[in-house]
């Protein structure tokens, strides 16, 4: 099902939850919630930020930080920089982020299949080859393992490549290079070579794309030591994470989702990045912590609408950083609500949810009033038939049921 989002009525209900229930000292960016409303064939976005009124306000540019937690929220700046920003779709946000970084640093280059003349199979690199040339936006032959390795070699010798997997599933072919070289070489060389590479591409279950194009690979890569994994879910964090990933000295895998490319949102004009290691508070709440990422965020928000009508107050966190987990944001939430539900698109066995469950149990067991519930997609290759595909992933009614069960 498409990501179906909050109506304006629910937004009002949400804004009634007190702003100060969210730990403002924690944020270095003003808390935002973003919802999209799907009307027929087009997407429109309604947004509000964490303040009580629903004006579009306080989209403070997020600065490059040197420590995890800012000492205080800079609320003065938040209210003064009320630039209107500009509206765009998620794939355009990714493109904008990529283009800005390529303008900023001539060492940034793109490699992948059909990224150049074709503009990218999801149009993320559209227009870049014309602007930057065929060598900076390199159309590669279909040899994932080798061109990923080539990107790693280029990164070791001074460039900052962005490798695109046409579909994340194709990166299975590059697993050798990603695991053996990308993650390892900084360590086995004793710190001599850095690999500031970004590997990105669309993944996740789409609309009847078949099993091989609908893989959820986060779980496969999560154990590789030496890499970071992030998943974007909104145009704002897509651009921010893309830029942060390119600027990072570590190898970063950026997971995008096939169904989210057409989300529209208004994002700031000024330069900003999103911290790679931080989670995003989507909706503060009191009763239960729902941890999610990527497309499931929208299923959760839809379920939240139902839950609110039923009188529940869920706290929704988009974990964004799949490796490493932001245990601070998550921990604070657990300490407040004492109940955790994880909703993910990854497989049940050995998925992100499984790791997250273990991490929370290990660190916050004393704060839990109930066992952690984890809703993952089924351990099946994604079927082609629409009805079967629908039940492969977690649907909002299941989330509602789970919350009701947890809160008994």
């Amino acid at each position: 099902m498409a990501a179906i989002f909050q109506g304006v009525g629910a937004a009002e209900a949400l804004s009634s939850s007190p702003f100060n229930s969210f730990d403002s000292n924690k944020s270095i960016f003003s808390p935002r919630r973003s919802f999209s409303v799907r009307k027929g064939a087009s997407f429109a976005v309604v947004r509000s930020d964490g303040t009580v009124n629903l004006n579009l306000k306080g989209r403070r540019a997020q600065q490059l930080i040197s420590n995890a937690v800012a000492t205080k929220a800079d609320s003065a700046a938040a209210s003064s920089s009320s630039k209107p920003g500009h509206e765009l779709l998620l794939f355009e946000a990714l493109q904008e982020g990529l283009e800005e970084e390529m303008d900023r640093d001539p060492h940034v280059c793109v490699m992948g299949e059909d990224v150049g003349h074709y503009g990218g199979s999801y149009k993320v690199t559209k227009g870049l080859a014309k602007k930057f040339g065929d060598l900076r936006v390199l159309d590669t032959p279909i040899a994932e393992n080798s061109f990923t390795g080539m990107g790693i070699g280029a990164a070791m010798t001074g460039l900052r490549p962005v490798i695109e997997g046409m579909n994340m599933g194709f990166l299975l072919l590059a697993f050798n290079q990603i695991s053996n070289n990308c993650g390892m070489l900084h360590y086995t060389s004793g710190g001599q070579f850095t690999i500031p590479i970004v590997i990105r591409g669309p993944g996740g279950v789409g609309r009847q794309l078949g099993a091989e194009h609908s893989q959820r690979l986060e779980s496969y890569f999560q154990s590789i030591p030496g890499i970071q994994m992030v998943a974007c879910s909104t145009p704002y964090n897509a651009k921010g994470l893309m830029k942060a990933a390119i600027r990072s000295e570590n190898p970063v895998i950026l997971f995008e989702h096939v169904l989210l490319y057409n989300l529209k949102e208004r994002i700031p004009d000024e330069d900003y990045i999103c911290n790679l290691e931080e989670a995003e508070m989507v909706r503060p709440g009191e009763h239960v912590t729902i941890l999610t990422y990527s497309r499931m965020r929208y299923h959760v928000m839809q379920a939240a609408k139902t839950l609110v009508n039923k009188g529940y107050d869920p706290e929704v966190i988009d974990i964004r950083s799949l490796k490493p987990f932001d245990l601070y944001t998550i921990g604070n939430s657990v300490k407040k609500t004492h109940r955790v539900l994880i909703v993910e698109e990854c497989m049940r066995t050995g998925g992100i949810g499984a790791s997250l469950t273990a991490a929370i149990t290990e660190n916050f067991n004393d704060y839990l009033d109930a066992p952690i519930m984890c809703l993952s997609s089924q351990d099946v290759p994604t079927p082609y038939a629409g009805t079967l595909e629908e039940v492969t992933v977690v649907q909002p009614p299941q989330i509602v049921t789970a919350v009701e069960q947890l809160c008994q």
């Binding site: 040899a143 390795g149 001074g158 460039l159 360590y187 070579f193």
Partner: protein, 427 residues
């Protein structure tokens, strides 16, 4: 003396029956040389049905035709060059012999792959490089590291697992890296380094064309073995390198055996150099036991890359005198084959050449031998006395930016946790 390249070694047997009494002299330049891959010239000596495609397989070079002089007074190297080559090969041999000793004494562990017998390839190629040129190797990388300039002390310490090693003891025998000397590793899986080398060559081209560093002509050498030539990464990178004319030379150290698998048993067409023209680059075969021949071929291949003419595939027929690794009992290889190649020991051949052509005296060469022994002894001593890595080193180089370990439950980055620097933090 003819400076032509290796005689056309089209033999399919493991070792050639072509006479090698005078390894450095060729009667007739029967071999192919790259010059233009667009020309197809069939030489009468070729025993094979050369490619069906035009402009492939072999092209007899104009270069060869120019060298009509067979005067024995035109030597291939000067005295300094000769001594440099000799020293480098003896260095490699002595170092590897010492590694074997140290391994059996329990100073180094794991898989150790020694390079004895193949020194001509490493010396012949790497001694022509500048410091900024890159070398990518495999697990048989000690001698590539030494030829590239990594100090013996650093390599030996790395083998002993000490913190003064070139990779702080974190890499080991199969993962030698040196940023200073542009040694990009040391890879345990075969074929894994070839894309890395392609990437380094790509950077060189990028620097020249995008970043406009006009004088950037860095060349990358990728060394790998015969077994790797059946691996997908090899073919994929040949394609990309030729497609974009990357400044890279693919050097195949064909020692005819991949652990216990003979090359002819694993490969449908054992002539690896023929695979170059299939991708649009020249393919050369050279006698890898003869450092001067290797050097001549290397000069051309490296020169080609530097001029921006693209990659070359060079197959060096060579042999490893020891087993695949120190754990290999080496029972499968025929003693006659081993003897055949032992008789073509590259160090002995070069020594003979130097002395016969009055480039050096016995005494000078002996002095070099002695000097190398001292260097190697000193390396062992240094490695012995070096400290072992402290526990705190465990987490240090996992990420270039240690914030990648994430934010802990207390809100601080884990790398700021004092236990992190002690190496005892849970991450």
């Amino acid at each position: 003396m003819s400076t032509a390249f290796s005689a056309a070694k089209f033999s399919t047997q493991p070792f050639s029956t072509i006479s090698h009494d005078s390894p450095l002299v060729f009667a007739k330049p029967t071999s192919q040389f790259f010059g233009s891959t667009r020309k197809l010239r069939l030489t009468s000596s070729s025993k094979f049905n050369l490619s069906r495609r035009s402009g492939t397989v072999v092209a007899v070079s104009d270069y060869v035709k120019q060298k009509t002089s067979k005067s024995t007074t035109s030597l291939l190297i000067t005295k300094e060059e000769g001594l440099e080559l000799y020293e480098d090969m003896v260095f490699g041999r002595a170092f590897e012999d010492m590694c074997a000793q140290m391994y059996y004494r329990g100073k180094m562990f794991g898989f150790v792959h020694l390079y004895n017998g193949q020194e001509a390839v490493s010396t012949g190629f790497i001694k022509l490089l500048k410091q900024q040129d890159s070398v990518v190797s495999t697990y048989r990388d000690h001698v590539h590291a030494l030829s590239k300039g990594v100090p013996a002390r650093a390599v030996m310490s790395e083998l002993f697992g000490k913190t003064t090693g070139c990779c702080r003891g974190q890499g080991g025998s199969m993962h030698m890296f040196s940023r200073e000397h542009n040694l990009l590793g040391g890879f345990a899986f075969i074929g894994e380094g070839i894309p890395i080398a392609t990437g380094a060559a790509f950077t060189s081209k990028y620097k020249r064309e995008v970043l406009k560093e006009a004088d950037c002509d860095h060349v990358t050498l990728a060394f790998f073995g015969d077994g790797t030539c059946n691996n997908g990464q090899f073919f994929e990178c040949l394609n990309m390198a030729a497609l974009w004319k990357l400044p890279i030379v693919f050097v195949v150290e064909n020692n005819l055996w991949a652990i216990g698998m003979s090359h002819s048993r694993a490969t449908s067409d054992p002539q690896i150099y023929k695979k170059g023209p299939a991708f649009g680059m020249p393919g050369i075969h050279v006698d890898g036991m003869d450092v001067l021949k290797v050097r001549e071929v290397a000069k051309e291949a490296i020169g080609r890359a530097r001029r921006g003419e693209g990659p070359t595939l060079v197959e060096c027929e060579t042999y490893r005198f020891r087993g695949h690794s120190l754990a290999d009992p080496d029972e499968l290889r025929d003693p006659a084959e081993k003897d055949h190649y032992a008789a073509r020991d590259p160090i002995r051949a070069l020594k003979k050449y130097l002395i016969e052509n009055s480039l050096a005296s016995e005494a000078e060469l002996k002095a070099i031998d002695k000097k190398i022994d001292e260097v190697v002894e000193d390396a062992v001593e240094f490695a012995d006395e070096s400290p072992i890595p402290a526990r705190s080193q465990l987490l240090e180089n996992v990420f270039a930016d240690p914030r990648g370990f994430g934010i802990g439950p207390d809100g601080r980055y884990r790398c700021e946790d004092p236990k992190f620097t002690e190496g005892t933090a849970r991450v």
